[in-house]
Symmetry: C2
Subunit: 584 residues, 2 copies
């Protein structure tokens, strides 16, 4: 009785295939370090497509655009939004928006017009492709794909700013792509185009983008509010994170807003509150499942891309396809150069020419283009567009994706720092933020720090009271960080089997610490005091008190002349003994 | 553009409704302690059904049997199988099988024949319901529902044996129900019934049941084998647990075997190996997600049950419906009494009459009956059967479900022990197991312990080598348990902020321990030594060495004359100081 179980059975088998393919690649350690996983997966897809084609003698099923947009894309974008490093994202917001909006428009019109130019050459036999169709094609081929970018950039570990620039652009250009694609598509079906329609199109940018943000934030806040009440029923907490973000995506899509922007706004908006509300295990589950889901979606997308490539729905035209690839490269490079020129004039921390090259080179195309080209209304050159899109995707994923890592090595592009920032660094960064906010406030300059400070004030004054549980003290981020580290350390200790059951004497140590501390109390300016309220300060003192030994112990390692020898732990133990003796 | 997103949007909204309903109930603490959640959920469903009925003026959609069997039931059964306490389950296997197979057949024929008797009374106007139809109805109404049983028994905390008897029966009777239901259904459509068909039906029991076990174990072993290779790609580990168990269910259903039995066999088979292979976080995710999924499915099923009750697909016939309820109660009670009489003759640990009453009273019917009655082929009395099934379900869930807790209190049925067994108890249980296996071996009695021992031997000799990672030492269950406790303790310490950073001296203590230990070494018999191989012994010694303080500290609490006073930690600290001083 196969028909009865067909749908879930086949879905499960596809997911299984994807997971097994992933395991297979990782068994050979050398392969993933040379070839990006996305290339391997497309390759698997090509083989599978070939097998299906060979067996059935007809084209294998192409990826359904509905399945892609409704089921495969949301998990990846949710994962991207939830784990987005918010600090670099907001710091480079202006640059990212410039690339995403102006850059994408530049690419669309650049590629569209120059392909129209190519179509005028009689020898190529392409005179029947109109300007509007070329622009429509430009609008779908110009968009950098977040899935492809993430798949490649996660493996090459460039510095955080570069990563966020390329990745942020690929996410936010969704709003622009959606508007331009729908605009040109409706223009194609209209008999005449009025100038009113063009202006309406420009207005739509803001509606689609800001509408997406609004929908996302609404659902994000509702999610945070809901998790206030899950104290007695921890087990369904992770569900709300997924349900609300998926609803935000679907709602945005329903009103023709940008679903990608909505889900990112939702994830970034709720993250902070949800994490404070839900239990540690729920949080692990949320993180793990998000990663798992996005990883499977990702794998399925690339396999389907490969499968869909095989078949008879391509019309081959050398000049059009070659020029598409060339124009995609040229216009992106030009766009990045021109835009970066303007960006660098207004920033102290400029984008180097190496970074510019990687930004231009990292403009990978992926499954979004592919789904959009299949969604095109039927017209006689659709198969040509499909062929050109497939070639561009394969070219960017294979050629650019495989060469970008050697290029990054060759150019010695600044890499991501391996270690997480220390607590000391975090405190200093935070202190500087408050200082800069104060300076901006005094000088009357409404800059980034000023707004951040105002937002933080609004957050702690109103939002936290509504969205967080009452009995949960709103903790400082540093205290939270410390608790996280502490927890991690405890688990490590337990796993290594070194958990000592000796009682700690925080109270004794604390009084000792407080005495010595009062002598050298420093005057903390109003702003910092505001941020580090008494509760937080007490927390920090407790933490320091508890870890006084640890700080001392790590001390000697900084000394240039002593090596961390084996005698150290014994000395350290002696020190503790003496201290304890005194306290007893 | 609502149509585009309709399907996922509505699914998400239903799940959201279910989750919010759950939160709502838990906000009022008193409600869940009086009324079981299942009743409340059916009530919510009834209200929703009423609203839909009132607004549209037509019957609300009934629960689709396909959706129920393909998507809602598997998560619940998987959860049940994965968290099944395997020791009591296997210890009471014989009794459970007797209840599930003989008991269900008894109920089916009892209810079927006595309802046929009622149909012969002319005053009731039911002469057109044939014996076969009555038996078919009996086969679907006799099955105790695992979802309903779980929902009620999880809240009343009866002792483990009673729980596993009722719950195990409700799970394993699926095979019998499937066979009888399909048998009678095909008989209804046949012109004449040959005696060959009846014998084929009896043979089918074994095929359906054992086939399910076989399919489940095959997928379970494959799952365990697959997780051997996920070292580099931890993030998709949880996926395999879900994928393989779902595949086992679908495959079993495809071949008309018992899907429930298959998924339980798969879950119980893979659990041990998967848990050893996957990382701790993956394991948390698996557990959490299973619980979450089953909880949501559960909620949806009860809400749908309520919604489906409202409508116009009922035919009301007082005598038939009332007698159905009465016969369901009587035949179950009789069946339990008779079967328990035989069971008690062969067991030392008998089932008390109180327990018998709860077993009979706990035979709740639920969504499986409901789905089966809708799957019936159309005939003129189908609506009567639907009405009778609905009434039986509502009666058992509401009346029996709500009164079972007071009855358990009133009868003073033995409750579940609250605390987990201590490590000492575990060691003793294990020791006794080996002892009994040895006794059975010597006396030539092939009892339960003998087979368990043989299975354990086969497991450690062959299965573990194939299914577990090579670098993972196959650890003793006691060592694993200890590590689990240690980890839990560490997390608790970290969360309470009491993690001491003082170094522990396991090596020093260990040598000390080993010296003192060698004096009183006891002779361990061959069997025990086999089980506690050198690695395990060393592990246990290490553990004891590390926790020597702790054992000492907890010592005084056992003394009848001293209270665990506040002075104790100081004394304890002094003791440690002295010991440490010596060792330095």
């Amino acid at each position: 009785d196969y028909q009865h179980v067909q749908v879930p059975f086949e879905i499960t088998l596809w997911i299984m295939l994807a997971s097994l393919a992933k395991i297979g690649f990782h068994l050979y350690n050398k392969l993933p370090s040379v070839v990006p996983e996305s290339c391997l997966l497309i390759f698997v897809g090509l083989i599978m497509g070939g097998i299906i084609y060979g067996l059935n003698d007809k084209s294998p099923p192409v990826m359904d655009s509905d399945i892609f947009f409704l089921y495969l894309l949301p998990p990846i974008v949710l994962d991207a939004g939830y784990f987005m490093p918010s600090r670099p994202f907001f710091e480079n917001m202006g640059t990212i928006l410039l690339y995403a909006v102006v850059g994408t428009i530049w690419n669309v019109f650049g590629i569209g017009f120059s392909l129209y130019g190519i179509c005028q050459v009689k020898a190529f036999r392409l005179q029947d492709v109109s300007l509007l169709h070329n622009l429509l094609f430009g609008s779908l081929i110009a968009a950098v794909d977040p899935v492809a970018v993430l798949a490649v950039f996660e493996e090459i570990h460039v510095n955080e700013k570069l990563h966020i620039l390329v990745f942020g652009e690929s996410l936010l250009n969704d709003a622009v792509t959606v508007v331009l694609y729908k605009l040109f598509r409706s223009f194609c079906e209209m008999p005449t185009i009025k100038s009113v329609d063009v202006f309406a199109g420009v207005g739509k940018f803001f509606v689609v983008g800001l509408g997406g943000v609004l929908v996302g934030l609404t659902f994000g806040m509702t999610a945070a509010f809901t998790t206030r009440f899950t104290k007695d029923i921890r087990v369904i907490e992770p569900l709300f994170v997924f349900l609300y973000s998926y609803l935000s995506y679907l709602t945005a899509e329903m009103f023709h807003l940008s679903g990608i922007v909505a889900i990112i706004a939702c994830a970034m908006g709720m993250k902070r509150y949800v994490e404070a509300n839900i239990s540690l295990k729920s949080h692990t589950t949320v993180k793990y499942f998000m990663k798992m889901w996005s990883s499977v979606s990702d794998t399925l997308i690339f396999i389907f891309l490969g499968v869909s490539t095989i078949g008879e729905n391509h019309e081959w035209n050398w000049p059009y396809i070659c020029f598409t690839v060339i124009f995609c490269l040229i216009w992106r490079a030009l766009g990045v150069l021109v835009l970066t020129f303007f960006v660098n004039r207004f920033h102290v921390n400029t984008i180097t020419s190496k970074d510019q090259f990687i930004i231009a080179y990292g403009g990978l195309r992926g499954a979004i283009c592919f789904s959009l080209v299949f969604l095109l209304p039927d017209f006689h050159r659709k198969k040509l567009f499909i062929a050109a899109t497939t070639v561009v995707i394969l070219f960017t994923v294979f050629v650019q994706g495989m060469t970008i890592r050697p290029l990054v090595d060759l150019l010695a592009v600044k890499r991501k720092r391996e270690s997480a920032p220390t607590v000391g660094e975090q405190i200093h960064i935070r202190f500087l933020d408050h200082l800069l906010a104060g300076i901006e406030d005094i000088s009357g300059h409404w800059g980034q720090y000023y707004w951040k400070d105002k937002l933080e004030y609004f957050n702690s004054k109103y939002l936290q009271k509504i969205l967080l549980r009452e009995y949960d003290q709103p903790k400082s981020s540093i205290v939270l960080l410390y608790e996280k580290l502490e927890r991690k350390h405890a688990i490590e200790l337990a796993e290594a089997g070194q958990l000592g059951h000796a009682p700690s004497h925080p109270s004794l140590l604390r009084s000792h610490f407080l005495c010595s501390n009062s002598d050298r109390t420093v005057k903390i300016d109003k702003k910092l005091e505001d941020a580090l309220n008494p509760d937080v300060l007490e927390n920090i003192q407790e933490i320091l008190a508890r870890n006084l030994y640890r700080i001392r112990r790590t001390g000697p390692a900084y000394n240039r002349h002593t090596l961390p020898g084996e005698s150290e732990p014994v000395e350290h133990a002696k020190e503790i003994l003496i201290l304890r003796h005194k306290s007893l």
